[in-house]
Symmetry: C2
Subunit: 454 residues, 2 copies
Amino acid sequence: MRKILVIGSGKSSSYLIKYFLDKAEFEKLHLTIGDINIENAKQLIGNHKNAQAIVLDVFDQQSRSNAIKEADIVVSMLPARFHIEVAKDCITYKKSMVTASYVSPEMKALDNDVKANGLIFMNEIGVDPGIDHMSAMQVIDRIRDKGGKIILFESFTGGLVAPESDNNLWNYKFTWNPRNVVVAGQGGAAKFLHEGKYKYIPYNRLFRRTEFFEIEGYGRFEAYANRDSLKYQWAYGLDKTKTLYRGTMRRVGFSRAWNMFVQLGMTDDSYTIDDSENMSYRDFVNAFLPYNPTDTVELKLRHCLKIDQDDIVWAKLEELDIFSSTKKVALKKATPAQILRKILMDTWTLKHEDKDMIVMYHKFGYELNGKTHQIDATMVTIGENQTYTAMAKTVGLPVAMATLTILNGKIKTSGVQIPITKEVYEPILKELGEYDISFVEKKVPYLGYNVFNN
Amino acid sequence: MRKILVIGSGKSSSYLIKYFLDKAEFEKLHLTIGDINIENAKQLIGNHKNAQAIVLDVFDQQSRSNAIKEADIVVSMLPARFHIEVAKDCITYKKSMVTASYVSPEMKALDNDVKANGLIFMNEIGVDPGIDHMSAMQVIDRIRDKGGKIILFESFTGGLVAPESDNNLWNYKFTWNPRNVVVAGQGGAAKFLHEGKYKYIPYNRLFRRTEFFEIEGYGRFEAYANRDSLKYQWAYGLDKTKTLYRGTMRRVGFSRAWNMFVQLGMTDDSYTIDDSENMSYRDFVNAFLPYNPTDTVELKLRHCLKIDQDDIVWAKLEELDIFSSTKKVALKKATPAQILRKILMDTWTLKHEDKDMIVMYHKFGYELNGKTHQIDATMVTIGENQTYTAMAKTVGLPVAMATLTILNGKIKTSGVQIPITKEVYEPILKELGEYDISFVEKKVPYLGYNVFNN
């Protein structure tokens, strides 16, 4: 029996656990799931004989190290900031480790220790980051192996509501942490490369500089720029690539409407609103508009944001009931972002029967034998329900597959790493295909970056 | 002989020093001016027998405490962050102290020690903060003494170019630290009270939510909200006042044009632009606009900001030569704000013969005997030249007068303080009047806050 310890059993662990349980007999796996609250874990493992749920407080050093000592490999599904203590124990007890989170500087600093012990600390192997790394590097390496040179790489991911559950004017519901959606794009200008030129978009323009694209069978999407388009330039070996752009996908029209909140100041998470507790939604809107003894909040808002009488964005606001004078904020000392999040959650929370959807879109421009070419690759995954979501599937399955691949000795390179090498992405992408997570590639004419060609 | 030590002899010390020298014989004053660079001080004191300039590095504890020990009172004209070391020495050697800077938490923390030693640490006694405190409190106290209740207080200050030197389309030149002008309004939403309602303006709307007003003889001005309108609510005793608003004054049209830089992202001081050193001004503008192989920077900018063909803001941009492809930024690893500052300094730097202007405008709304009233008070001061500026006059004279008033024992209340008590403002405002720094008061009908009545 090979013992796998999974620490954390939140929303994204359903497929992860199911994968291990389905393989338990054939692969001789025993699964221990540790969490402070084991209700969810218990439900997911049912009465499977090769699995147990244990109460584990990651801050209790004794029980944490006991659990890690017992395991053959450790999966941390905790929030990113909690990984480091687990990682240190993994070095002490010489266990490999897998996470879906970004490599923190503290994690990176363990690289020498991890290598010295011949261990593998695999990170960023969820969906984004994760499937994006693997699927991009597979195409990039294939082009390079033929002697091609990458001149353009654009990559877009979105966590959205599935078409069959898409029934509001925003074409959006919260499929992941709502706070991150509300504050998305803050903290500095978005930076990217277009045709060799560095470009910068400040937060207040971000949601008006979107690009559109089609995904066959799924219609039109838009994307706004991520802050960190150049983050993987070196890791991917794209230091000579002229166009590098990463973005977040939404349904068309979302960003232009979202920009209303940005312009009003409702996404600000840096200060608290006075007496937020007793405010109505209408009072909240009015706090960002000029005082007037008689004019309505509605007309002041239309005037402030220059919203025409027949603009659909107005209906999007009304759908949120944001002008209600009876609905109360009921949050003490709340920031504008916290209040907005609450208002949005009234309308954008997934219902039990709702399905989510993960969409990914890569564009690869390259030169080969003196000619330019382009490959567009798209992936769409739709969830089954609110337990078996597309998010849990695309995060959990690559984590689980990486864990088993490491356990089976098929990944050999030690160190703190992300899944950008063939050794890692080849077996995992192949296996993901068996679970209907795969990319559709299409050759298209290379046009270079030009906003009007999208 | 009473010995005054002035530490720091920068741009705002001309009138301060002149005041002491003019009074030196009658008031039996000896003036020591300490600075790292004493060229400016030497020029300002000429061969006056009651004055000397000494080399003084405020970080050299020995020479700093020697100089303070010798003095009867200390004036610190250093940048605000350097006051605290001087203040600690002043407690050690039991000297009173005067600054024009905001009271820092560290300065505030000295209050008990200052009181225990019977000393006076007078701060915020320049123009803004300073003259604004004194002139506002004089009217507020007068209204209260008659039994009136303040229901509205609005206050606006501007450092501008004098009408006779106002010869650019922006009606603006740098009369004070250009960096502060470029980053003005950043760091959080502006917050104020209008008719009992808290209002918030995010940075990206700040320069489009201006108010206009006239100053008789000087024409029309506008003001955008300061971040801290409620800062002195308690100090002024205005905790029941329904409208509290503080703002910064500019000539009409400045803010709408400035907003172009805000929207483009050019005022951001939080990140550096790649290869800023070799950029032309045109490249800098283009970095904030979408890539296109053929469209001009000009049309992309007009489109991005929706600038009509006949809009005067366009001529304001052209006046700055911001589309030049030959002028180079020539700053290494510069932030957008640093680059913008450089471009603006080409055009907005005061010429030797240029005069500056300080404008202040207070509105006081109050209830008295069941009726509402309003007093508007305005002050305009124009500089003589680039040494004897309006800024140096309105900052330096109140500092100098406070110093002499303390020295003459006419301010009796000890402690770390700001000039909001009669004991302080009465003699100083009276004396400022002798130097043509005085307010014109006008009774106007009280209309409450209403943007359309301004």
